[in-house]
């Protein structure tokens, strides 16, 4: 047993001295200015044309998808949607800095990360329509993506729960000797949950190679961040956990990329968690169930429209001569068409057969679930018109 002295490194004062806000300054990493030109002393990350364009196009795709799905919800074709407009760089550019074997555990506004990994338009549509082709069998609401083949953990609604889970997942990766980390996305609102505290503290103490990526977009539904916390954002909490922390401009793809790349390297090399706070703004409504005019002004929104992450990277790409504007506009049209076509095609795909209702509760359905299913099927056979989605395939 080694002797401990938990005071050994503490300095002394002899008058009451108060530690408070403003004592430290947590600056924000910005590489590209809002106009797309790099800061003079900035180090632009080593990104080749292919990757830069993949980031850019994924962001554009997501914006197209978001617009289209919000419209589809208004038309009553899907029940719910949640857009990430204005925050595309945070999820796309961070995912770009990862390797495919890294696990992604996300909140729900990180469709960009998923698209970057290769989730197809068809897969998006299958999920949105909860149909039988969806990998999660349509059991959750739209936007609760999940794809094992892409190392993207199925999303669950209760906020913050994925944070300690990510610590555990990363611990398992480390124990298995994998060259992989876990990235965990969450909002600044979710960071108020007790699970946030548990997850960061455990990751620090148990040396888990996990990247905690907070999208601080200023709002949790209607609640502005100043009614969410009184400290200096989420980054200022990192110190309290002894977790290395980086704050970035979440609307700057290069800052996000550079920070995530650095975080991944640190996490792997030192077996430690890293916290990234990406400062951004939720330009979209919280979801299709929300109307932000009840809690914020158009002026505020328009200020942030000027910091658009897609335009910023686009300007840089143009400056670099990597972007053919005409071609891009054609591509955009193609994307729109593709989304629309897939939507139309997929909305006809049926939901799973009713037999699936008792699958995956356990590894195999126990007797009581089989009994419940067989009673249900008998009942449905009696009233087929009442259960039109499934009664034709009993």
């Amino acid at each position: 047993m080694k002797d401990r002295n938990h005071l050994s490194n503490v300095g002394l004062v002899h008058k009451v001295s108060i530690i408070e806000n403003g004592l430290i300054d947590i600056p924000m990493l910005q590489i590209l200015k809002p106009d797309g030109s790099p800061h003079k002393d900035a180090v632009v990350p080593d990104i080749d044309q292919e990757l830069a364009l993949k980031i850019y196009r994924t962001m554009r795709f997501i914006r197209v998808l978001d617009e289209r799905m919000v419209a589809a919800q208004r038309q009553g074709r899907i029940s719910f949607y949640l857009a990430s407009t204005g925050e595309e760089a945070a999820s796309v550019a961070s995912a770009a800095a990862l390797e495919p074997q890294d696990m992604i555990m996300s909140q729900y506004r990180e469709q960009g990360a998923l698209a970057f990994r290769g989730y197809s338009t068809e897969a998006f549509m299958n999920q949105m329509f909860s149909n039988e082709k969806e990998a999660n069998k349509g059991r959750q609401m739209p936007i609760h993506y999940g794809d094992k083949s892409l190392n993207f953990m199925t999303i669950s609604s209760p906020l913050g729960t994925q944070i300690p889970q990510a610590s555990g997942y990363a611990y398992g990766q480390k124990m298995a000797g994998e060259e992989a980390v876990t990235i965990c996305y969450f909002g600044e609102g979710a960071a108020s949950e007790g699970d946030f505290h548990a997850g960061l503290n455990m990751a620090a103490v148990l040396n888990c190679p996990v990247i905690f990526f907070c999208r601080n977009n200023g709002y949790a539904i209607s609640t502005p961040s100043e009614e969410q916390f009184a400290g200096d954002g989420i980054a200022s909490r990192g110190l309290g956990y002894g977790v290395k922390t980086i704050r970035v401009d979440g609307n700057d793809s290069f800052a996000v990329y550079a920070a995530t790349q650095k975080a991944r390297a640190l996490a792997l090399k030192e077996n430690c968690p890293v916290l990234i706070e990406a400062m951004t703004y939720r330009l979209a409504a919280h979801s299709t169930s929300d109307d932000p005019t009840g809690y914020r002004s158009k002026e505020e929104e328009s200020k942030w429209q000027q910091k658009d992450p897609i335009a910023r990277l686009g300007a840089w790409l143009k400056g670099k001569g990597w972007l053919d504007e005409e071609q891009e506009n054609k591509d955009l049209e193609t994307m729109r068409q593709e989304v629309l076509q897939e939507l139309k095609r997929v909305e006809k795909v049926p939901v799973c057969k009713i037999d699936e209702i008792i699958e995956d509760v356990y590894d195999t359905p126990p007797w009581h679930l089989k009994e419940q299913l067989s009673e249900l099927k008998k009942h449905m056979a009696k009233y087929p018109e009442a259960y039109p989605k499934t009664s034709g395939r009993l």
Partner: protein, 325 residues
């Protein structure tokens, strides 16, 4: 009297309570300026100020912990949990703290003034996490009261009674009916009794028992049964804890048959407690087994929501099985 939907009735009850007693404070996620994601707390901040109606940070355990302390201090907190599905992070604060506060202190301190409001239930395409009916999870907890209204009139009267009752009350609102259920509601102050069931239709052949949104389903099934010559007595339990054993048993003694229905999964649902008690108290009166028509023993499945729900057809079939046992 005014026509109100269920949300308006709740909003009206909150205004009544806040006007009457300045110690009443209403808080939770998004309940402040915005008036809540369902708008149940609309205009309260505007009318009563930010100190008495406010947003909290996004932490259910914090909301209830804070509310417990506030209640024990003598204020009258009405805390909102945005969805019943998100009440579980507060489970420890409710089950180990709220409920045991008075007992553990020998009656010196209590959370009696606390009311927790939360929307519950399915039928809104909400899937796993916007559809649960968690009442049974709490009904195993001495010290709590649990109340679930079925319509706007009941909602106002029961909510006012809950806020004024000197015991912590979990008030669960059928969100499917928030806008769908509209009815006449007195604008003046009134309360309805806690712990008392209500016979909403008398009958002789079978007793049908439910609460909250499920009452609508019973009503439909009752009509269908009536057409087949079955005359059901229908009871709204209203209070899940403590529950009104007398009213239920008196009815069962009369009809000889009981059917209970809830949306929550069958196993361990509150229907089990009722069935266990009634088979004991009415053993010699029962002419057929007590039937339970409930959700399946699975998480709440989005794509198969219709099939999952204990709808009027399932209740109707079970009525026939029970009556013709």
């Amino acid at each position: 009297m005014a026509k109100m939907n269920l949300l308006q009735a709740i909003n009206n009850a909150l205004i009544t309570a806040m006007e009457e007693n300045e110690k009443v404070m209403v808080f939770g996620e998004d309940v402040g300026h915005f008036g809540g994601v369902f708008r149940a707390t609309s205009n309260l901040q505007q009318q009563f100020g930010r100190d008495r109606c406010f947003n909290t940070p996004l932490t259910e355990q914090g909301i209830i912990g804070f509310a417990n302390g506030l209640a024990s201090q003598g204020s009258v907190p009405v805390a909102e949990i945005q969805f019943g599905d998100y009440i579980f992070p507060a489970f420890d604060q409710i089950v180990n703290e709220t409920a045991k506060w008075r007992y553990r202190s020998g009656g010196q301190f209590s959370c009696g003034t606390l009311t927790i409001r939360t929307p519950y239930g399915g039928g809104i395409a909400g899937g796993h996490y916007h559809s649960q009916s968690p009442e049974a999870y709490f009904a195993h907890t001495p010290g709590l009261k649990i109340v679930m209204p079925r319509n706007p009139y009941q909602a106002k009267g029961l909510l006012l009674a809950s806020i004024r009752d000197d015991n912590p009350v979990l008030f669960m609102e059928p969100k499917r009916l928030y806008r769908a259920s509209v009815g006449e509601v007195p604008e003046e102050d009134y309360t309805l009794p806690l712990g008392k069931a209500e016979i909403t239709k008398s009958g002789t052949d079978i007793t049908l028992l439910a609460w909250g949104a499920q009452m609508e389903v019973l009503d439909k099934a009752t009509e269908m049964a009536q057409k087949e010559g079955i005359d059901a007595e229908v009871i709204d339990l209203r209070s899940i804890l403590p529950w009104d054993v007398d009213t239920v048993c008196e009815s069962v003694v009369k009809t000889g048959r009981l059917l209970i229905s809830h949306e929550a999964p069958l196993t361990g649902g509150f229907a089990s407690e009722i069935a266990a008690t009634v088979q004991d108290k009415c053993f010699l009166n029962l002419e057929s087994p007590i039937a339970r028509v409930c959700g399946l023993d699975t998480p709440y499945p989005l794509a198969h929501e219709k099939e999952y729900m204990p709808d009027h057809l399932k209740v109707f079939e079970a009525i026939k099985r029970t009556v013709h046992y």
